[in-house]
Symmetry: C2
Subunit: 102 residues, 2 copies
């Protein structure tokens, strides 16, 4: 992203990987919070570093409440407007689906 392009694969150098993890984790949490503020969405993020360290972000509400809501949507999720996906399907094709007008 900066002085050099990134590879879409695991960083091998342990030191470099640690630095990148720290920076990107910060950026990801920032982005998550921005999305929740801009669009009034409830967002929860959980990150486990390779060293087993846990990082959590709960925007709008608590993580506990988000997990509870998530459980209801998946476990007993017979709600009509739920979209569960694992992102493998959603992100691999360069295909954005947006609504430009209602």
């Amino acid at each position: 992203m900066a002085r050099g392009k990134i590879q879409l694969k695991r960083i091998e150098n342990p030191v470099h990987r640690q630095v990148t993890f720290c920076k990107r984790r910060t950026g990801l949490l920032k982005k998550a919070k921005e999305l929740s503020v801009l669009c009034d969405a409830e967002i929860g993020v959980v990150i486990f570093s390779p060293q087993g360290k846990l990082f959590e972000l709960a925007a709008k509400g608590t993580m506990d409440g988000i997990i509870d809501k998530y459980m209801k949507c998946t476990g007993g999720g017979r709600g009509s407007s739920s979209a569960i996906f694992t992102a493998q399907e959603q992100l691999q094709p360069p295909n954005l689906v947006c609504l430009s007008s209602p």
Copy 2:
């Protein structure tokens, strides 16, 4: 971020907010997956749109496993290397804490 600067507040126009939500949600999930791949981290993201729609991303493992691991780290979290924060504390000061060398 592009033809105009963004405000760090809730978007009022419903249509504009919907479009932004869609674009940023896609970008956030992409970033999350990149982080998990680059740094070999286990990441779970849960997003509830204002309309109550649920979006989930589980990178490296299942969301169920991530939540389970999360519960153990918080509930019985007497582990020595756990960092729980709500991002309010972590992101507001322009203060990055990184390890340059181990």
